[in-house]
Symmetry: C2
Subunit: 342 residues, 2 copies
């Protein structure tokens, strides 16, 4: 962010802000291409995949995926493990028959039923899942095994938090505002052979191939968000890449869960096998203290700890941008709060 | 921009960057609501209209408009006055029959045929036009009279450049990157009674009513672009609002056309009745000098003067953000260049 501030009015001596640049000029083109190259490098993305920098968030992908990937199939498979899965399923159901392979809702999204209970269909257009669910803090421990089916993942909240074997996926998408940074940018990594066969009536802006053929510049892209994402990619490379981030993120999550589990005052209800590295919901033994907890935390600069309105309690979202020292401070604060009120 | 830079890492003492704020938190909500209020104030937008801050640019609107406004009609009317009109027509034709009311293409987009020749249809879903065409610099001198029909305008390159009687329109849209500033934001002003009747298969993110019902926060919006747009709205109010901008913009355009018309070395081919205030294409008497002109101009800090690839020559885009002194400098440079090479 300091780099962004320093460069805001004058990008590398050009006298231009990145925001003033023509997206087709050589200055911006170099920024855009470097960002894509750095992302390909970080994630190990081969030339078999297009990397798209789109607008409209993951919510647009909920429609774009069936509109681009149905390819005449009668149905698609979806795993339901939380609120984002539900939204993806609701939108896909407007375009095709959805087979719900596994449903974590009966457990209140606290666990994922065992693989033996999954009902994968024959010949689905694709299999869609959400590796991490941000509201309930429920996360797959590994990539689901789906045989020859095309696997599609909403990685909005986990992309770049650890290494990822892209070759196991047909399509990966991620709204950038959680683990990358700027809102208004959605990254799509899609196997090239899957593009170009859209449903009739698909808007031109919802056609992956149009964007791929135009280097994500069919129209003016979200130039500044793309630039900021590029700065994040460079920062991640300096942190030791995704292996480095995985070590930091695993350590951050492990110590926060240890603090919660080691206390009778705090609790996290999620099956330990499927606990999120990114979003850690927890409750206080006495919910009457919730407001006090939030107010005192804010005084320490610990913000946005309020749990989602559907769930109540607290939620710590510890994405890539949250430094380990921030987690340490939260743990210290929780311990102090428990000492005073526990 | 200075304000944006000063506030980048700490918005008004919150310790948070606007980019870090939750879009549902009170800090960001106040920014978003103020921006809408300032835009309503500047343009005189009544409560009969929803004001939406969307993603996807004008190119997404090319599909959203028919998907939302056809309302069972058999066709829509489009005026063709340039490249952006053509794109809008091509996309709309995928959803309905398009009646081209008037076609400026035979004149190479240098004039608009007289009203007497227009072929408005009976009972169109709406009438779409592009008040200003950026490539050829062709602009309507006034709002077309279309009787009771719903008028729709792509104001990407003219919004906020002068006063506008919003009540004459059913829908106004504008990609923000030309006359407002940040790329990745598209403003839609739509009469409320027109929303809520979409074509089957319309993606949820392409439904105006969903966005209106959620205050443009059905999903995470382009938060930073929305914030920057709000700064621009406040700046415009300080410049005397749209009447003040109209006087400046008219003066800027008039003096640049006077310089072109007063020279045998430069020429602009557009019918004087339909010349753009915003985009002024011009040619040099000897096109062999084009490269020299661009190189010398760049040395004076006069950038992005190269004409569109379809047209060649030069193009001065003098949107709101271009100060009058910038136009004066361009005129001075053109005169010097003519003196040396003319």
């Amino acid at each position: 962010m300091l780099i962004a501030q320093q460069e805001m009015l004058d990008w590398r001596g050009t006298g231009m802000s990145v925001m003033e640049m023509s997206h087709r000029g050589p200055e911006y083109t170099s920024i855009a291409e470097q960002a894509e190259a750095d992302l390909r490098d970080l994630m190990g993305i081969s030339d078999d995949y297009a990397v798209l920098f789109l607008q409209g968030g993951a919510s647009s992908q909920f429609s774009m995926i069936p509109m681009n990937l149905l390819h005449g199939h009668t149905h698609a498979d979806y795993l339901n493990t939380g609120a984002w899965s539900e939204k993806a399923i609701a939108e896909a159901s407007r375009y095709t028959k959805v087979n719900v392979v596994v449903d974590a809702k009966p457990s209140h999204y606290r666990t994922i039923p065992d693989k033996a209970e999954w009902q994968l269909s024959d010949n689905p257009a694709y299999v869609h899942y959400t590796p991490n669910e941000t509201i309930h803090g429920l996360e797959f421990a590994e990539i689901p095994e789906v045989g020859d089916a095309t696997l599609v993942a909403d990685m909005s909240s986990t992309i770049l938090s650890r290494p990822c074997d892209v070759n196991r996926f047909g399509l990966i998408y991620a709204g950038a505002q959680k683990n990358i940074g700027p809102a208004g940018l959605c990254i799509v990594i899609v196997r090239k052979d899957l593009m170009g066969k859209t449903l009739p009536g698909t808007p031109v802006m919802f056609d992956y191939k149009i964007h791929a053929d135009n280097g994500s510049m069919y129209n003016t892209p979200a130039t500044y968000s793309w630039y900021l994402a590029g700065l994040v990619f460079q920062w991640l490379k300096q942190q030791g890449g995704l292996q480095g981030m995985a070590e930091i993120n695993q350590r951050k999550a492990a110590k926060l869960y240890a603090a919660i589990d080691g206390s009778d005052f705090y609790a996290n209800p999620v099956d330990v096998r499927y606990r999120s590295w990114m979003n850690i919901p927890f409750t206080l033994a006495n919910s009457d203290l919730d407001k006090q907890f939030l107010a005192d935390a804010a005084k320490e600069g610990l913000l946005t700890l309020k749990g989602h309105r559907d769930l109540g309690g607290m939620r710590a979202s510890i994405y890539n941008a949250m430094p380990e020292a921030g987690v340490d401070k939260l743990i210290w604060f929780m311990s102090e709060f428990e000492r005073r009120f526990g």
